[in-house]
Amino acid sequence: MKLTMTPVAYAALAIAVITSPLMAQAQSDAQSKGLEIAKEAEARDLGWQGSKSKLQMVLQNRHGSKTTRELRRQSLEVTDEKLGDKSLVIFDSPRDIKGTALLSHTKVLDPDDQWLFLPALKRVKRISSANKSGPFVGSEFAFEDLLAQEVGKYEYAFLKEEKVDGQDCFVVRRIPRYKNSGYKKQIVWWDKAEYRVQKIEFYDRKDSLLKTLTYGGYKKYAEKYWRPDSMNMVNHQNGKQTLLQFQEWELGLKLTDSAFTPAKLKRAR
């Protein structure tokens, strides 16, 4: 039988030939739009310099029983594109880890530098930062969820616009570019009005939905910077959740580099 191409087949072929560059075009449009949104969100948050916050971390297991941790965080804005921010986290409770402190010098793509201070021994230990996807102090937050979300850490693609809690949002997919991430991808909802993150879905390495993080109670600090009152992380795979409740936020503080050194970590309290 002679192989013939029907007009329909021709049409299909023609569409395929025409659409693949079109699709590529659409894809790169989606990428640049996604990147623009992330850049705009970052640009609107530039200049906060130093911040201090006090928060409660409520860990809830699948049976609903809760344990609470209290901590304080200081952060220093670093504007160098290759480097991330510096942060110092000090635990106030549970009481047996009171005074334990974690210093992080984050990088965008390179591994972060991290030191842990153990107050009982007065010992500062440089620790491995390869455990980005591991749980932060037994919570449903991974280390990577709590680090500064620099634009360069991800590849972006705009997906659609959608309402979340009555707010118009951009929905953007982002794929981690840094090593040791526990995620195949994340879907982020930024509100169109102020470019604040309203929700993030985290997909594990097998691309199944792992966790959903929702932000609540945004307030403006230092006349410009939006910070949430709460961040609630729900793990869909193990039924646990962790709620971060911020009790205090201070922004625009004049903190210096010298407050974020391993030598100062020894004196943290």
Partner: protein
């Protein structure tokens, strides 16, 4: 001397501390039960297989000028049912601290840790070991000091003036040498415990490397135990020599690897010697079903000190260990390790398991075993002192 220093400090603070500061009071009470399954090795040792003790360690902090200045007081008391020498009190900390931008000044009684390795702390020589607390040499007595820390792009430089010496504490019953330890030590320095010591340390973090270089000059915290025959029987009398010790500690951190080195060169009243600990720690993160971290540790220990220097069990040994942390809300963790002598079968085994209960309680189970000790080994005297301890702490 100590009382004098403390008084001077309190007066100084009393004059300076303005209103409007912040008080913080916290602490821990620990009940500990130790079980010794074997009969003691020496006839004069208490043969009670169980010993109970209670320790209290409150911490009082007063901060002012937005945390720029603070006073810290951390007294410590332990009462032991069986060992009179383990019943003891100490001032772990009592100092004033000024936290400047490029310098920090501390005056009073303080605690300092230097080093990176896990099995032995060679470069860490500022504080005296509180030997009755545990045999791991990690509990320290408060050290009177003036410590100035200077910081810059080049790292941190610590300068120490140490005006007073603290004697090491020793158990009277279990976990001691073959004879009771005399509470009347001798010193190489004619000033006895009043010898003025000094130390300096430079530390810096350079990319993947954390480096420390230190020097200490003064009375060694490690005594030689000299047998002395008395009418009442033989005792071991501690002798504290003067020493000059230069130390280096380096850690290289990359991915899940930590590579560590501590090395010292010490000149004591015998001769100059070298000692080192080098090893690694590798962590398998989220190794079971995504939960828990397993760290594998190994360190090589060498020490070529004179036989007349303070004796050490770590002259040519290898340490292997594993740390399993569940990364759960209760911070459950287990650490097991063994130090094996490379020239004899002597092995020291240690297993520690810990977990938080509720918000304020913490439970630690520890076992320490002294295996295959032979007549020449330092741990020979401890051969019957294997023990298990259960410590329950309440933190407030």
């Amino acid at each position: 001397m100590r009382a004098l220093l403390a008084t001077a400090l309190l007066v100084m603070v009393g004059c300076q501390a303005p209103q409007g500061g912040v008080f913080d009071f916290s602490g821990v009470v620990t009940g500990e039960l130790r079980a010794f399954p074997a009969n003691p090795r020496f006839a004069d040792q208490d043969d009670d297989p169980l010993s109970v003790s209670v320790a209290v360690e409150p911490e009082i902090v007063y901060e002012w000028q937005d945390g720029l200045q603070r006073v810290v007081a951390t007294p410590f008391v332990r009462v032991d049912s069986n060992d009179d020498d383990r019943t003891h009190a100490d001032l772990r900390e009592l100092h004033w601290l000024y936290l400047g931008d490029s310098f920090t000044l501390l005056a009073g009684v303080g605690k300092v840790f230097w080093g990176v390795t896990e099995s032995r702390h060679l470069v860490d020589v500022i504080n005296q070991t509180d030997g009755v607390e545990d045999i791991d040499e990690e509990a320290k007595l408060g050290q009177p000091m003036v410590n100035l820390t200077l910081e810059g792009e080049w790292g941190a430089l610590d300068l120490f003036y140490l005006p007073y010496f603290r004697e090491r504490t020793f158990n009277e019953e279990r976990l001691r040498g073959p004879f009771p330890i005399s509470s009347n030590p001798t010193y190489e320095s004619s000033a006895d415990e009043g010898h003025q010591d000094w130390a300096v340390r430079w530390a810096h973090s350079l990319g993947d490397f954390d480096v420390g270089l230190s020097h200490f000059s003064g009375t060694s915290r490690e005594p030689t135990l000299v047998p002395e025959v008395r009418a009442s029987g033989t005792v071991l009398r501690p002798h504290y020599a003067l020493m000059d010790q230069t130390g280096v500690d380096v850690q290289w951190t990359r991915d899940a690897w930590l590579c560590k080195l501590e090395a010292i060169s010490r000149d004591d009243d015998q001769r100059r010697f070298f000692a080192a600990v080098a090893g690694f720690e590798y962590t398998f993160f989220q190794f079971i079903d995504g939960y828990g971290n397993l760290g594998i540790l190994s360190e090589l220990l060498v020490d070529d000190r004179s036989r007349r220097s303070p004796r050490t069990a770590f002259d040519h040994d290898v340490f292997v260990g594993a740390r399993w942390s569940l990364e759960d809300a209760q911070d459950t963790a287990i650490l097991a390790g063994a130090v094996v002598d490379l020239q004899s079968p002597e092995t020291l085994v240690s297993i520690e398991a810990e977990r938080r209960v509720g918000d304020s309680w913490f439970v630690e189970l520890t076992a320490r075993l002294f295996l295959n000790t032979d007549s020449d080994s330092v741990a020979r005297a401890l051969s019957e002192d294997d023990f298990i301890s259960l410590a329950v702490s309440y933190h407030f």
